[in-house]
């Protein structure tokens, strides 16, 4: 790999680390209900919203109430998306005259957006009206992201509080997150994206006559407003079919770089919020270090594999790496980095087609998702997912020395460990279970675009992405079929909510516990030993669970490629 490639990666990491502290400070103030520099403008709006919706700002919720409120909110969100998709033909803002979206595709897309997955069985410019893009997708991009952050805050409060029965108020957390964090950033960000060349119009598709006299219909739309929150909220559902590879959805190398930063920005800042809330920012930096180690390993492998190319390219004397399914303005490095970033976080936007990556280059995104998307992760979801692994790591450490494990002043006991295990077991159940069905059920097999082990990887990737609420795809797989619309929706639903409920149970149980001051016998959770331990637990859990499946897919494909086999 070239020097310039490494410098791009180092610059990216440096900016993320530099942003974590100021953003973390701001978010901590927002969720503690303190004044911020935006309060003069936003506070009256916020108070007005509470008044008409009957939210009592003084009242907090028990973890069960908090969870039920969150679920209620999602039932409504689901109905809105499903409704506008089914009715788009008779609703306004539909200059391309898109017809009603089929039942199963509407169902899949609605589940996909409320779970922050944003899996694209829909084609964007070829399927959806502008109204669906705005009222259906953009709105849920905000709210599913705000929900993720709210849940992470509830779990963080579980650690930072002592002897309390409540974990916060869901309505207030969601409202404040949307108004104070997501919207202001998106307004500035969307304008930046338009400046870079992203369309933002309600006008019809453009009819152009090319230099050679052919007709070209160019799809446009209110793209920038949606892409801003799509990246910032780690949603990832594209305005266009080709997602962030489409020149209108990612016009320049600079827009690409900023999009990658915005995927990680809030997730990385949440580690700092955690540190501040538990009273020691080094606790947050330790968690960010765990993420950093795993991230850099993934980046190095993918960049190396893609720059190396494939046996097919070598045989034809083509050098310069694997450019199939990549854009010239991004090249090998920015495409590989984007792929690792988008799957480390649960974003799922793509600026290159993962299906055309080399076997090993495409395996890293798969592994990132299978580890539970805890490398920065989805906004909020990554934080609570990582804290579940921390609980397990602390438990393992406690077993080794024969003491009751403690983390940031809280005793980790049987209930927490059981709940953490329950949440973590959801992923293999959904991923491996459905993949097993998908590779034997004949109509599902017919959806594969590539033959041989690569076809298996397409199915494995689809269920991994759905269960992990990522949304990126090995897009050759024909996902818009009755089978995949329903099974993927079930994987997305279970992958999101069956992880949230145990995490919230932990939040509730921790909040009720007393806080114990650190003593000489307390295992320090800010040093290198702790970082190594958590990395180890994450890799062993993920490695043991998914290695057999990876061996059947990308690993065997890599070996077959080197042996000169084509399928």
């Amino acid at each position: 790999m070239t020097m310039i490639g490494w410098l791009q990666i180092i610059l990216f990491c440096a900016i993320i680390v530099a942003l974590a502290k100021p953003l973390g400070g701001y978010m901590t103030r927002v969720f503690n209900g303190e004044r911020t520099f935006l309060s003069p403008v936003l506070r009256p709006i916020e108070a007005g919203i509470y008044r008409i919706s009957g939210v009592d700002e003084k009242r907090e919720q028990h973890w069960l109430t908090y969870t039920v409120a969150m679920l209620l909110f999602h039932v409504g969100g689901f109905l809105i998306i499903y409704g506008v998709m089914r009715l788009q033909a008779v609703l306004p803002f539909n200059p391309a005259g898109q017809g009603a979206v089929a039942e199963d595709l509407s169902f899949n897309t609605a589940v996909s957006f409320i779970t922050n997955t944003n899996w694209q069985n829909y084609g964007g410019e070829s399927t959806l009206s502008y109204l669906v893009q705005m009222l259906g997708l953009t709105h849920q991009n905000f709210l599913s992201a705000a929900t993720g952050i709210a849940l992470a805050m509830a779990l963080i409060r579980g650690f930072s509080r002592a002897s309390m029965r409540t974990v916060g108020n869901f309505w207030i957390d969601v409202t404040r997150c949307t108004l104070y964090v997501l919207l202001p950033i998106c307004v500035v960000y969307a304008l930046f994206l338009v400046w870079q060349g992203m369309p933002q119009t309600l006008g019809p598709y453009i009819e152009a006559t090319t230099l050679e006299g052919a007709k070209q219909t160019i799809a446009v739309g209110p793209v920038a407003s949606q892409v801003a929150i799509k990246m910032l909220g780690t949603n990832g559902g594209g305005f266009f079919n080709a997602n962030a590879a489409h020149p209108f959805e990612n016009p320049t190398a600079l827009s690409n770089f900023v999009q990658m930063l915005s995927i990680f920005a809030l997730g990385a800042a949440l580690t700092n919020v955690f540190g501040r809330m538990v009273g020691n920012q080094r606790q947050g930096w330790a968690i960010l270090s765990v993420m950093g180690v795993l991230f850099l390993a993934g980046v190095a492998i993918t960049c190396w594999a893609e720059a190396n190319g494939t046996a097919t390219l070598h045989a034809l004397g083509l050098t310069g790496g694997n450019m199939e399914g990549k854009e010239v303005r991004f090249g090998i490095i920015a495409s590989s980095l984007f792929a690792v970033v988008t799957t480390a976080a649960s974003c799922g936007a793509v600026n290159a087609m993962h299906d055309s990556f080399t076997a090993l280059g495409g395996m890293i995104p798969l592994i990132n998702m299978e580890l539970g998307e805890i490398i920065v992760g989805g906004v909020g979801a990554g934080m609570y997912g990582m804290l579940l692994f921390v609980i397990l790591a602390i438990f393992v450490a406690g077993l080794m020395v024969g003491r009751t494990p403690e983390y940031v002043g809280k005793k980790i006991e049987a209930r927490e460990v059981k709940m953490a295990m329950l949440a973590i077991l959801v992923l293999p159940l959904m991923i491996l279970g459905w993949t097993a069905v998908g590779v034997v059920y004949p109509t599902a097999v017919a959806s594969m675009a590539n033959a041989g082990p690569h076809g298996f990887t397409e199915v494995l990737y689809a269920f991994t992405s759905a269960a992990g609420n990522n949304g990126s795809a090995f897009a050759g797989l024909t996902g818009n079929t009755f089978f995949y619309n329903l099974t993927l929706a079930s994987a997305m639903f279970v992958g999101r909510f069956f992880m949230i409920v145990p995490a919230m149970a932990i939040a509730g149980s921790l909040a009720e516990k007393k806080s114990i001051p650190a003593s000489v016998g307390t295992f320090p959770t800010t040093g290198g030993l702790f970082v190594g331990l958590v990395v180890g637990v994450i890799l062993i859990m993920g490695g043991l669970t998914f290695f057999p499946a990876l061996a059947l897919g990308p690993i065997v494909e890599h070996l077959a490629m080197n042996a000169g086999n084509l399928f």
Binding site: I52, V55, A69, L72, F73, G76, E125, M134, G136, T138, H139, L143, V174, T178, L183, C186, V194, W195, P199, L202, G203, I206, A208, T210, L211, T217, I218, A219, N241, A242, A245, P247, A253, T310, A311, T312, A315, L316, G317, L318, G320, G321, M323, E324, G325, K326, E327, V328, R329, F330, M353, D355, G362, A449, N450, H454, T457, A475, G476, M561
Partner: protein
């Protein structure tokens, strides 16, 4: 729990209206004022006609024009709406080939394109981006090497010295941002428009 129902409904509707209507519509109005060209899709007009977008690639077959990368975009089959047919640079349906590293179909396609290019310019190594499809199928750019590779063909078709065409390629080459971010590239449509202007 029952008292959570009213906030659930009202808050959802209010936040939906703010994020799903007020925000995108306001951004459309502001962006249209501040950046009218970009907001409409960076359209390029020649002689009063829209010839394309500066950001969207288009298909060139004529020898006198530089060609972009192969495109894997599809369109519905006019004879059978359940099927699709190849339609390169279809800007109403973006997408890549999604062929994997061990795909025989990909290997065959690459070999065919490489053989054609070897005939066109036997003296230079073939740049990889000139035979691989882009992720969007709408890539507006090619690498500077891919542009230089096509110079002999374009110069011959236009009956102008190669050096003159090479100069245009160099003038239309964009470098990395700050020498660091992105990759060097040549916008094919801009280059072809410059060629046509130079011919006048």
């Amino acid at each position: 729990m029952l008292r959570e129902i009213r906030p659930g409904i009202v808050l959802l509707l209010v936040l939906t209206a703010i994020t799903g209507l007020a925000y995108p519509l306001a951004m459309t109005a502001i962006a249209g004022t501040l950046f009218p060209v970009q907001a409409q899709g960076s359209l390029i007009e020649r002689d009063g006609r829209v010839v394309g977008s500066a950001l969207i690639g288009q298909e060139f077959k004529d020898d006198k024009y530089f060609r972009g990368r192969p495109s894997a975009t599809l369109a519905p089959d006019p004879n059978d709406s359940t099927k699709t047919v190849p339609a390169p640079y279809n800007a109403a349906n973006s997408g890549g080939s999604n062929l994997g590293p061990t795909s025989k179909a990909l290997a065959d396609r690459l070999k065919e394109d490489v053989d054609k290019l070897k005939v066109e310019n036997p003296s230079a190594p073939i740049p990889v981006d000139l035979v691989t499809t882009s992720a969007s199928g709408l890539d507006p750019d090619i690498s500077p090497e891919a542009a230089q590779f096509q110079v002999p063909r374009v110069a011959k078709a236009r009956n102008v010295p190669e050096d003159q065409v090479r100069q245009l390629v160099t003038a239309n080459t964009e470098g990395r941002l700050l020498g660091l971010i992105g990759e060097p590239r040549v916008n094919v449509l801009a280059l072809n428009l410059a060629l046509d202007r130079a011919a006048k």
